[in-house]
Every structure is written in C-alpha cells, then in structure tokens.
C-alpha cells in the first residue's frame, strides 16, 4: 500500500480521537434525554484547563483529570438548570457556549503559546507488527487507544447491560421507565456528568496531544461539529465514531487539496467542513424513508444502517417526577 496513504490514515485516526470522545460523550448524554448544547465552549474551557493544569503541575494525568472535571461541571450545570430549575436546555447550553469560550480566552491568556507537556507516543508491542493495520491503529499514543475503548464500552454498555437499558429507557420513554421504578432524573444527571467528562477529555486531548498547547479560541467550531456528528451518527456509538473519522478524512483531504488552489483563501477551506456538516445533516434528516425506498433492494439494509436514525423520543423534554 502507498506509504503516504498509510501515514494519512494514521494521522486521521490520531486527530479524530478528541471528536470521538466528544461525540460519544454527547451521544450518551442525549441518549438519557438531555441536550448539552454547550460543547463548543466546554471543549475550549476544558482544553485550556487541562493545558494550564498540566503546565503548572507538570502532570499529564492531573491535566486530563482537570479537563474532565471542568467538562463535567459544565454539563451538570446544564442538567441542574434544566431539570431542577426547569429552564430551557438550549438556552442554558447556548449561554454556556459563549461564557466558557470567553472564560477560556480570559483565564488562558498567560498560557498562550507556552510549550507544555504532551502525551508520549506509545506503540503497542506485538500489535504494531501487523502489516498496514498495525501501523495505522496501534502505532499511536494512549489517548488514541482510549478512544477505541470508549467506542466499544459505550456500545456494550448501551445495548448489552441492564444499566444501558435503563439509560435508553430514560431517554426514550421516561414515563415508562419511572413506572418501572427507575429514578429518571438521577439517571439523567449521572449520564450528563459522564458525557460531560468525556467532552472534557476531548478538550484535554486537543491541548495535550492533537493540537498541542493553548491559543485564543484554540478549538473553536469543533464542538458544533461534535454535536452534528451525534445527529449524523444516529445516536449509535459506531456511527458516531464513523462520523468523527469521516470528518477527519475530509479535513485531511482539504489540507491536501489546498496547495492546489492557491487563489482560494484558507478560510474557505476552514469553513468547508461546516458546509459539509450541513449537507450530511440534510442527508440524514430529510425524507429518509423515501430515500430508502428509492435505492435498489440489495442496498437497502446498508442505506438503512447508515442513514436511518431517530432521536431518543424524550430528548430535551422535561420529566416531572412524582
């Protein structure tokens, strides 16, 4: 195989790891029925926090924990504001998006363009020897391996455990779950917190590995992409991960193409992912059943698996307990 292609695949896998964390995190939250719209701000603030903590303490682990803690706090604020205080989820999420972005700029100012610690490269002995695949998948760092694990655990948890069944029921039919003795809002808090921690991990993954360091609006825009990927991914871990990797591929195609079009300013290439995001959403949100009917019978299962998706029925709806 072409070595350039292998290297590109390897870098796509590595650079998509944060999006996998954020996408899966938000997917878990939404599966429980809560929309945490604050992702774009959460990722910025947790990236800043993770970098600042790792920079000051010299400990990567503390940095990541700090980032996850920040992401979790923001998510819990969304949950508390919407569940206990009955305010609009989208409003709180949006306000937090702007607030956290500005907080990251203000507090992060002393850390701009400082050289800081980074996650060390760590090939998995043995597995890395596998031809082609070994180099692409297992010649990475611990963070990337963690992203594989998150996808798998989320999948098993959602579809093959009791707890996952409860989680889905709370997002799908909260009344029924409540009637069966599930404490709906407690489950929602729990998974909003876990999802938020994963979003925070995504922030740390940027500032400590994928996009090293900290700068003004370091990861701006990526949170919105993550939110779109959850929809594109139809709230399924594998498809969400697929969305994250597809986005990585598109980005690297963009940067490979860019030198060929020197007249087009770089900003156009930077905005292209968002236009594609919109197209992708149109594709999965439009008249999907009609689309399935129109493709050849043989391809229908594939199209169905890729494009048919329904949001959890209780998504964004308040549940009054008792």
């Amino acid at each position: 195989m072409d070595p350039l292609l292998i290297e590109t695949a390897k870098s796509v896998i590595a650079s998509s790891a944060p999006l996998v964390f954020a996408g899966i995190g938000e997917m878990i939250t939404e599966r429980a029925g809560v929309v945490n719209l604050s992702l774009d701000g959460s990722i910025l603030l947790s990236a800043m926090a993770a970098f600042a903590i790792a920079f000051l303490s010299g400990s990567l682990l503390l940095g990541f924990l700090g980032g996850m803690f920040v992401g979790m706090l923001i998510a819990l604020l969304v949950a508390y504001g919407s569940i206990a205080l009955k305010q609009d989820q989208v409003a709180i999420g949006f306000v937090l998006t702007l607030l956290c972005a500005d907080l990251s700029s203000f507090i992060g100012k002393p850390f701009v363009r400082k050289p800081g610690p980074s996650v060390p490269h760590w090939p998995i002995p043995g597995l890395v020897e596998i031809p082609v695949v070994g180099h692409i998948l297992f010649d990475q760092d611990l963070l990337v391996y963690a992203s594989y694990l998150v996808i798998l655990v989320a999948w098993v948890w959602l579809f093959y455990t009791q707890a996952g069944l409860r989680l889905r029921s709370v997002g799908e039919r909260p009344e029924a779950a409540f009637a069966r003795g599930v404490s709906v809002n407690r489950v929602r808090y729990l998974y909003t917190a876990i999802g938020g921690a994963l979003v925070g991990l995504a922030g740390g993954a940027y500032s400590l590995s994928v996009k090293l360091g900290w700068s003004h609006r370091h990861t701006a825009g990526i949170g919105w992409i993550a939110l779109a990927i959850v929809i594109f991914g139809g709230w399924h871990p594998f498809r969400v991960a697929l969305g994250a990797y597809l986005f990585g591929v598109l980005k690297s195609v963009g940067s490979l193409l860019q030198p060929g079009f020197p007249n087009i300013p770089t900003q156009v290439f930077q905005a292209a992912p968002f236009a594609l995001m919109l197209l992708a959403l149109l594709l999965v949100s439009g008249d999907r059943e009609g689309m399935v009917q129109r493709v050849p019978r043989l391809l229908r299962p594939v199209v169905q698996a890729l494009f048919l998706a329904k949001p959890p029925a209780g998504l964004g709806k308040r549940f009054e307990q008792g």
């Binding site: 989208v90 607030l99 203000f106 100012k109 939110l227 929809i231 300013p265 968002f274 919109l278 149109l282």
Partner: protein, 354 residues
Amino acid sequence: MTWRARLVRLGIALAPIGLTLVMTMLILLLAGADPFEAYGNILSGAFENPKKIADIAVAMVPLLLCSAGMLVTFAAGLWNIGVEGQMIAGALMTTWLVESLTAPAGVILPLSVVAGLVGGALWGLLTGLIRTYGRVNEIFAGLGLNFVASALTNYLIFGPWRPPDGATMSGTDPFPPSAWMPLIGQTRASLVSILLSIIALVGVWLVLRGTYWGLKLRAIGRNSRAAQRLGISTHRNMLLAFIVCGALAGLAGSLQTTAVYRRLIPQISGGYGYLSQLVVLLSGLRAEWVPLVVFFFSAVQVGSPRLELRMQLDSSLGGILQAGIVLFFLLVRGFRERWHAPEKMEEGDGPIAY
C-alpha cells in the same frame, strides 16, 4: 404590594447582576488583577466623553436590529442562531450593489438599505427552507450557514472584490463617498441607522402584539401541532418569520458596511448575531426590555477593550460579563419559580382564542 415584597422583588431582579460581579471578581483576582480597577476601566472606557456615548449608540444599532428580528423567530418557537450569517448576507448584497452601481448618494443609500433587507431575507429564507423542508434543526441550519457566509465573505474579499493593490484582512477598498451614510457631527454614529433600528424594534413590538400574524406566530411557538390543527400553515409562517428576522439582520449587516466601516471587512458581523441571542434571552423575549439590555451590552462592548490597553487583560471579560448575567438570570428565575410554585403561571397570553 407591601414594602417587603417590593424589596424581595428588587433583590431578585438585582441578583443576577450581583452574582455576575462576584464571579468576575473571583476571576479577576485569579488573574492577579484589581477587580475595581477593571470595572472602573470598563466604565470610563464606555462613558468618559460624548464620543464614547456615540460609540455605544453605534454598537446598539446592530444589536437592536438583530434582537428585533430574533423576537419574531422566538415568537414562532424557532432558535435562529443564523442571525450572524443573515447579517453577513445583507452586508454582501449591499457591497455588491455599491461595487456595481455608480449613482448619487440619494439613490444609492436607499437602495443599499433595500439590498441589506433583501440579502438577509434570502439567507433567512434559506435557513428556513433547510429547517422546514430539509427537517434539519434550525440551530444547525443557521450555524452551518453562518460559516458558509463568512467563507463567502473571505472568498469575495480575496477574489472578485480584491483591492487593486492586493487583498488583506482589512477588507475591500473603501466605498465611494456616495455610499457613506451621513454621520452625526464628529461622531461615528449615524442618525439614519439609529432611526431604522428604533423603527424596527417598535414595528416588531406592534406586529407581535397587535396583529393576527403575530398571534399566529405565537400560536405556532406555543404548540405548533395544535396551531396546525387550527388551520395555521406552520411551514409558511415559520418561513415568513425567518424572512423577517433575516431582513432585519441583513439591514444590520448593510449598515455596518455603509455607516460604520464604509467597506466590507472579513468579520463584518462582529459577533453581534450571537450577542443578540443573549439580549433576547435576558429580555425574557419581551421587546419592552430589549433597549435597556442592548444599552448595557453595548456599554460593556465599548468599554472592555480598555482592559487590554490599560491592564494587559483580555477584553473577553466583557463577554464574560454579558454571558454571565444571562446565565445567572436564567438560574435565578429557575430558583424563584421553584420557591414560589403557586406563582408559576405562564407569563404572557393564554392559549389561542377559538
């Protein structure tokens, strides 16, 4: 109402401001800065001379226009996050007009206003079509189009509308003087802009309050399915709401080019679209409160760059103040409703009259 009850009410109204001040104070102390010096700098940066007050008026114009537009889409229960892109579309349409038409000011200035309205309306319509017929949530439709609009701006500045001596991030060449909105005295404020923004807000207030269309929009916002059962075309009215909101935002963008920058710059929308969402939230979706909130936001906007000049702090503290107050407003409102459960009546009008 007893004095005590009034005091409690005042306390509740002021609590978000107090909490925001406490939060920013902690952040400033964390950054090793004197909070009172920072607040003082923002205040003096905003109010120290008449020119600064005129600058506040300049910042108020796009916020008033965008907020007026968002009141319409919010009434229909739509979260039009695409205001930013609709502003840009208005600015682009206006720039296109100015670049392609040479005419005296008496012709070109009214036309530029129309171009802004049309450009924004079309972009709003596009957002609405993606929402209604494409079934993509309007948040993503609007947001995606924001990025597309800003990429389009960059393309035009670096492509077709490039100045003869090379494109830069400072934008196109200045417009010819015939396309400059007249300004008041030596200030940067334009009377036309101010009047237009006031007309827009009052107009929206009247339409939402006193017309059948306003009633229909609110019916859709409350319960779109019920509204449809009553024979209100939800799609058509949602599209109309997007068009009206887009037109007002487009006008804001147009005035940024003709009255403020007198050229097209890459960041022509300047974040006012996002900021106006905060304005409308803090106004509790009520037009009456918009002017006061806009004034406060604009003063912070004008005052906070001084933090960078005088104290080497990031001017994003202004954004923290603005967003913080909205967050605490929402949280305090939630607490109030929680404690006074019996008072928890839905504000505004009852359900649709049969």
